[in-house]
């Protein structure tokens, strides 16, 4: 609207040339709801602030592709890059190169091992631990104090879900539950559901889904079983929320991807304009969505 236009003028007035500044978002892949939400948050904020914005998403999670995206963003004349790093180390050199060109780096979701203007992320490990604790609570409430627990991963190369799994396992240290070998469903709901079904057959009392697809799979398997298996998971999507609502999922950890996007965008513009960024390391937080509060998220 009108306000947007005012801001556009002022921001271009601030920068040294007439050109609009350009911010590019690079995520891990393009299809996950999570990234779509980050994009949405960033885009809305970019419209408000009147900057040029583009989302350069790799087709799939692949370090080489992500590095290509960084190089492309630099070549495309970006002033700032918002990035969700695939891994802490894999893209640092590419980012260093970009920084060498005077480009501002903002981390969203997952940081890498090189300094940036600001980081808006969740601590995946801590969130995973919360999920573990919630599951234990749920199991104890159901008077189940021991038994097997299954974990559905995405694939072993995805850092964020590996961290969630790590945190989840920490929550179970010195408990009587037996954590099974993690199975990987490639984030595919159907494959994850097969895995969950097999866990249930194997006598698991609890299941943990580490991302959207695995959580949907876990929830549906529990629902199909109709038994007493308890599942917790990650991410919020419509399907997940309805699974929570009907009780097939005990609860899910929801990060706030749109907040990452919008806050990241604000910081990016500040950095470009040379303004000071006060909070450099922001945990955008995790909400635990359960049957009690699910209505707030729908």
């Amino acid at each position: 609207g009108c306000g947007g236009k005012d801001k556009e003028e002022s921001s271009s007035g601030d920068s040294s040339d007439e050109k609009k500044s350009k911010v590019i978002l690079i995520t891990m892949d393009s299809t996950d709801q999570h990234w779509v939400s980050v994009d949405r948050g960033a885009k809305e904020e970019a419209d408000k602030l009147g900057v040029d914005y583009a989302w350069m998403a790799p087709d799939k999670k692949d370090d080489a592709q992500q590095i290509e995206r960084i190089n492309n963003a630099v070549a495309d004349g970006a002033d700032a890059i918002m990035i969700a790093a695939n891994g802490p180390d894999s893209i640092t050199s590419a980012l260093d190169e970009a920084k060498g060109e005077g480009i501002k780096i903002i981390y969203v979701d997952s940081p890498a091992n090189t300094e940036a203007e600001a980081t808006f992320a969740t601590d995946n490990e801590a969130a995973g631990r919360t999920a573990g604790e919630e599951l234990i609570k749920g199991l104890e409430a159901a008077k189940i104090t021991e038994g097997k627990i299954g974990i559905i991963g995405v694939n072993p190369a995805t850092q964020s879900t590996v961290d969630r799994e790590k945190g989840f396992r920490l929550a179970f240290e010195d408990s009587k539950y037996e954590l099974l070998e993690t199975q990987f469903g490639e984030g595919d709901a159907a494959k994850s559901q097969d895995i969950a079904d097999n866990y249930i057959t194997d006598g698991c009392v609890g299941i943990f889904g580490t991302n959207e697809g695995s959580t949907v799979g876990a929830g549906n398997a529990v629902k199909g079983d109709g038994g007493s298996v308890i599942a917790v998971g990650f991410d919020k999507s419509d399907a997940i929320l309805s699974l929570v609502e009907e009780g097939s999922l005990l609860c899910v950890m929801s990060q706030n991807p749109d907040v990452m996007g919008s806050e990241g965008m604000k910081a990016a513009v500040k950095a470009i304009n040379g303004e000071e960024i006060t909070e450099k390391d922001v945990d955008t937080g995790v909400s635990v969505i359960s049957k009690d509060n699910v209505a707030d998220f729908q």
Partner: protein, 334 residues
């Protein structure tokens, strides 16, 4: 009595391609025994039910791929068409369209891809690999764009019947998914082994020139095979949608490869003209049992990949060795 039995066995074995099927069936049985020993839950009624339901989609895409491979081609678009089917049907249902209508619109879209595949390959003489690589990309793009680059919301209460029909329901104690697969298998097996179309599919794969010169409509035959393939992918797409209760954009990723594996393990030749669907069942079963059994055995993902890889190679190797045991040196049977 003895003799008659012998006659039946002989007749059974004389069915073309039955040799390889027998070999891999023995492999499958050995595998099941090992998994049964490693993990007691493997043979539980519950797991057998699950297992059948897990094999079903692989078998279905395997049937489609077998049809195409017997014509001497390949269909790499299977996974993407599956994704399209899943996304289109789910999107329509979330928009409040009745499941039945949604299914038919989805069917039309999927068959269109099959038609294009068939025409590109047979009418325009594109190599099947590249033609279907192209449609694979395109169909995946369509799956993504159909709900504007988002996975769909839950297909909701209205679609509960749809979900039960394709996945959650049971008939006579067996999951509907398994029934659907069984019926389709019987239909497509009949089509391939007992009808003129089936005969033509083999002929085109065996020698396309000879088939054409004999008056076989090569284009129509190839198109039919691709339509079967798309139809199978479509069905699995619906099952996937019913399973998750939502549409996911990357549903069916890599399924074309599972389909190839099921077909080839079951004795369908990548060069065309050879193979029977009974083999594809066994191939799909081996694939499914490996996935399922290795999970019960608690194998980490790396070990699973290695074991699956080695077993795929060894099973086919064994078959080659057994078949050619008498002839020490065999030329590639074209």
């Amino acid at each position: 009595m003895e003799k008659k039995k012998n006659g039946i066995v002989k007749k059974f074995l004389s069915i073309r391609g039955m040799g390889q099927v027998v070999t891999v069936t023995i492999g499958l049985i050995i595998m099941c025994v090992i998994f049964g020993i490693l993990s007691p839950s493997f043979f539980s009624g519950r797991n057998v039910g699950n297992l059948l339901r897990q094999i079903a989609p692989i078998l279905l895409v395997g049937i489609g791929q077998s049809y195409v491979m017997i014509t001497g081609n390949i269909d790499l678009s299977i996974g993407s068409v599956l994704g399209m089917s899943c996304m289109i049907s789910a999107t329509l249902m979330t928009k409040g369209i009745s499941p039945t209508v949604a299914v038919f619109i989805t069917l039309a879209a999927c068959l269109a891809v099959g038609l294009i595949n068939g025409l590109l390959v047979a009418q325009f003489h594109l190599p099947a690999f590249i033609a279907t690589l192209g449609t694979m990309q395109t169909a995946r793009g369509i799956a993504q764009i159909v709900n504007n680059n988002y996975n769909t919301d839950a297909i909701g209460k209205a679609a509960q019947g749809f979900r039960d029909f394709f996945y959650y329901g049971k008939l006579l104690g067996i999951y509907n998914t398994v029934w659907i697969t069984l019926v389709l298998f019987l239909v497509f097996n009949f089509l391939l082994s007992k009808t003129r179309t089936g005969r033509h599919i083999y002929a085109v794969g065996s020698n396309i020139d000879a088939a054409g010169l004999s008056g076989v409509n090569v284009v129509a035959t190839t198109v039919k095979a691709y339509l079967v393939s798309s139809f199978c992918a479509f069905t699995v797409g619906l099952i996937t949608c019913a399973t998750a209760g939502m549409g996911t954009m990357d549903a069916g990723n890599m399924y074309e490869m599972y389909a190839v594996a099921a077909s080839v393990i079951g004795g369908v030749s990548t060069l065309g003209g050879q193979g029977i669907l009974v083999g594809t069942i066994i191939g799909a079963a081996i694939w499914g049992v490996l996935q399922n059994g290795l999970q019960f055995a608690g194998a980490p993902v790396a070990m699973r990949n290695i074991v699956i890889g080695v077993i795929v190679v060894v099973s086919v190797l064994l078959d080659v060795i057994i078949r050619t045991g008498r002839k020490p040196k065999l030329k590639k049977s074209n």
